[in-house]
Structures are given as structure tokens and as C-alpha cells.
Amino acid sequence: MRLPENIIYGTADKPPISTLIILALQQMSFLGVYLVISPLFARHFGLNQEQSLQLISATLLASGFGVVLQTAKFWGIGSGYFCPLQATSSTFAGLLLAKSSSGLGAMFGMVTVIGLAQMFFAFVFQRLKGVFTVQIAGLAVLLIGLGLGYYGIKLILQVEPTVSIQEQGLLCLLTLGTMIAFNVWSNGHLRLFSAFLGLLVGLVSSSYMDIIPESSWETFHNAPLFYLPTPMNIGWSFDPESLLPAIVTGLFLALHSFGALVAAQKFNDADWKRPDLESVKQGILSEGITNLVNSLLNGIPLTSSGGAVSLAASTGCTSRYLAYWLAGLMAIIAFIPKAIVIWQILPLSVMGGALIFLASFTALSGLQVMASRLIDNRKTLALGIGLILGISYEPLMASFQQIYPNVLKHLLFSSVSLGTFSAVLLSILFQYKNHTKEKRSFNTKHSSLDDVIIYLEKQGRRWGARPEVVHKAEYATWQAFEILVENGLINEQANHDNKIDIHTLFNEYTFTVILNYTGQILPLTTHRPTHEDFMNNDDAVLQMAGYLIYRLADKVKTGHNGAQCQLFLIFND
């Protein structure tokens, strides 16, 4: 696996401790914006102060556990990548259902089922290689990026009582500008810490501009210094009515994680070509287990943070040691409520600037992945509709919540899961009458290279193959066609249209072109004729042709299919 050039410390690298500490603080600064979700949840569900502290601490502890489990990759659990978890408000609706029918404990029973559902879907995704294609992965990553950017803009434009819109804009510019400056025009440590430096500039500027409200400092002063969370302190019970919403929530959490984990794979491999679904399975499994543990600690559901993955990649450190240090920092903060509160002091416009910075890397990465393959009209529609639904998530959610308040709330979990789910469903639907194995006959006298190009590009689009592989196949196939015809290897029959039948096969790794004809097997040779052979031996040209085919394809095979000869040209995708 070759590291991309922008990565200074890869997954297996161990940066110096001082660097790790600052990078962990940087990650925590970003993830800090999601720390507000636990107190929001506590307020929303009417928890008392003890219960609120339990919830907040438990969620943080579980996050720390989760980031280690994800990266350590023990016994087939965890992807091995740096992919932290974050709390999400999208599960509020489902949890509220559980609480309404069976009390607070039932919420955490639902989180247990969510975790189990994620583990189930981890195995299901791995088996659906034909559905979870490169393009679907690219769509998921693109939607993560667009969602981050959209959320960033919302934060910047959110009205705050003590801040004017101009001040918010200025803060955002200062934060984003600092991050851009250090990321583009510096390297080494300054680039590694570009996000942190931007956040620091944002914090200092907001303090200088007297924007941080007094109430934030009051909250900080009033927060206890130490709190020890107790498992199941709030409660745990199982409500059968929340089973289906929990399974649906688990599905959409898994879809969201699919996108984040694919992004992590791509950011760590310069030669990335397709999603490693085994690694995705292991990653989603670890998240399911994390949510199981989380439910017993009485924390709220967690999902992969595409933003944290982007932050690591954009600043150049995706080391698993960063995960360990981040987990340690999260564990420390989990016991110190004052430390939790301090992260929430950062103004929203500062976080908004950071999100725009991160979103750029992720969104473009997703676009690159989607554009790396040939696309036919089926894929265009599946991906296009998925993308449009994904970016229309908020207006759709607002409309459908009024019409179908209980049902569609679960379907509209997040833009990533809505868009990805739609694209997956359409991809499955469009498999109907998808003639990927369509055979075509080429007349030996009247066919041309253009005919082969048209056919193979159409097949390539249906299969979603890489364009460079299809172009290589076009050239080699036509060479093979000419060699068979020009060297008398086809049995020419008078008064008959002599044909070569060509069809294609595609699996995850190879694009195969199969030529069927009546005649003689093409002699393949692994040795090129010599200069003397060319000048003195009439068979040298045929030998050269066979050698040319042998070299143009990644693998060549010949054989018989009944009375017909077959020539297999296999190209690595």
C-alpha cells in the first residue's frame, strides 16, 4: 500500500509524542463540536444533572473505546484505520419513541439493538460486492463532504445573541484563512497542525472581540471538576416496539460508516481502486460493538466521523498512535466535566470555518472516486438520484416529518444514509435486464476498430470498469481480431458471413474479453522473435503477433468451447 504524498505519518507510523499530543488536541477540538449533542440530548429528554453527567461521560468513554477498537484491529474487529466516532442527533427521534413508550432505560436498550443491527449489516454489506461498488462508495464519501460543508455554512449563519453576522463572517474567515495558509504554503509540523492553528486563531480572535458570552464561562465555573460514571446508572430495558426503528437506525448508521471507512481507505492508499469490503465489515463490526458497550454505559449512539477522518488526512497524520492518544484524551475528559465544557466555548462560526476546510478534501475525494469509473445510464440515474436526494435531505426531512412523523424519521437519518440507501436500492433495481454479459458478433471482413471500441466501452460502462483498463482492452482485442483474420486462423467459409463472437466478463479485479471463433488456436509465445528471425523466418511475424497479444493483456488463455476456439484476454482492473 503506497501512502499518498500528502500523508506525513501513515497508519503504521509513530510520530513523536509532542506531535501526537497536539494532533490529539486538534482532533478533540474538532470533535468538540459534537460534545454539545450529549447535553442537548440530556436537556431534550429531561435528564437531571446526575443523569446528564452520566450520559455525557459515558458517551465520551465509549468514543475513546471505539476509536481504539477501530484502529487496533483485534481478531478481525476494526478496520485498522484512524476513524473516530461522534455522537449524532439524528437518532433522537428513534430514542424518543423508545422513551415515550417504555421510559429512559428503553432508550439504552434500543442502543443495544442498534449496535447488534450494525454488526449484522456489516456482514450483509460485505456479501453485496456487486451493489457496494466503487461508485456507491464515492457517492457516500461525496455526501459526507457535502454534508460537512453544508453544516459548516449553517453554523456560520446561525444567529447568536452576542455576535453580529459580520463578526461571525470575520471569525470564519480568520479561522478558515489560517487553516488554508498553513495547509497550502507550509509543510511539516505547521501543515500537520493547520486545523488546530486555525481553531486557535479563531478562539483567540473571538476572545479578543469579546464574543464568548458570559454564560459560557459561568457554565464552565459551575461544572464539577470530577465525575465517575457508573454503568447503567440511568437504566436499561428492552422495548419490543423499538425493535424495528432500532434495526433501521442500525442500517443507516452502517451506511454512514461505510462512507467514512471508504474515505479512510482512500486517504491512506495512493493506489486505491475499490472499497475493501472486508475492512469495511470489520470497521462497522467495531462500531456495533462500541454501541453495545455504549448502551451499557448509558451513552447515546455513535457513528463514524467523516470529518475527523478528513481532518487527519488533510493535515497529514493518519497514524493509529493518534487514535490511542485521542482515546486517552477522551477518557481523561470523560472524568472531568469542566474539560468537556471548555470545548463548547468555541464559537459556532469558528467551527463552521473548520468544517468547510475539511469538507473540501472529502467532497473532492468522493468526486474523484465516482469519476474514476465508466458510467452508463443506469449508474448515472442511480448515483444522480442518490446524490440529489442526499443534498436535499433537509427540505425532504422537514416536509416528510409533517406527513409521516413516525415512519420516515428513521429513513431520513442523515444525508449520507438517505443518498446512499437510495443509490443502493436503485442499483439493485437496475440489475434487472442489465445485459452485462451481452455477446456481439463481428464480421471478419466488415468490422473495424471503431466497432470494437463502441462495444467494449458500452460493456465497460455497464460493468463500471476503469476507463484506462477498457482502452487497453480495446487495443488488445482489435489486435487479436486482426491477428486471427490476417494470419488465416479463422476458417473462412465461402458464401457465409464469417464471424468472431466477443463477450465480456467482469469481477471485482478483472475485465475479461473472450473471442469465440471457428478455426485454429492462436499460438501464443512468451518469447519475442529475434532480429534474425524477422529477417529470415516467414513465421516470425505470426510469432511476433502472438507475443504482442501476450504482452498487451495482463493474462492470455486459449481453449476450446465445443467446436469453437476461444481466446481469453484478461485485464486487471
Partner: protein, 108 residues
Amino acid sequence: MLTITTEQKDAYLILVLTGRVDASNAKTLEEETIKLINDGNKQIIINLTEVNYVSSAALRVFLLIAKELTKVSGTVKLCGLSSTLKDVFDISGFSKLFQITATVEEAL
């Protein structure tokens, strides 16, 4: 689709090919070149700058041209090969059979 034009530069006849050289037009190229050789042209430069595709049929014709010119103590050079064509010539071993230059001027 192949177009063949010729120009004379000093003692060299420059054969400028445009388009694709494959089985459908290799015979035409062969016949026209043999005719030019029979007309007394012994120093030939084949300019492939505007050629985007050659097949094994084309390679066979180039080999035939080389053999014909050897019989009359002539020479053939190739120039202006794109990277794709260069790969084909390298794989087939034809880059060792011919003197290949980047431009016509280098071949002169």
C-alpha cells in the same frame, strides 16, 4: 482511415502517414511504398507523428518495407512515434529493427 502523402527532402523520401494503420489499409500502404521503392527511392523516412494506431498488420508492412530496401541497399527510418506507438514497437521488438527518431529533422 489512412492518408499517405510524400515529400522529397534531399536524398530522402518522406512518407507522411495520417490516421490508423491496420489490416484494412496495410495492403494499400505496402503497395504504394513498394511502388515508390521500385521507382528508385532508396532512402525512406516514414513520419508517424499523425498516426494514432498501428496493428500487427502495419508492423508486418514495415518489416516488408525494410526487407525490400535491404535488397536494394536502401534504408528506412521511422520518426514521430507517440508513446503508445513506441510501446508497441518496444514490445514487438521492432524498435531494434528500425532507427527511430523523434522528428524528421533528426532522421535527415
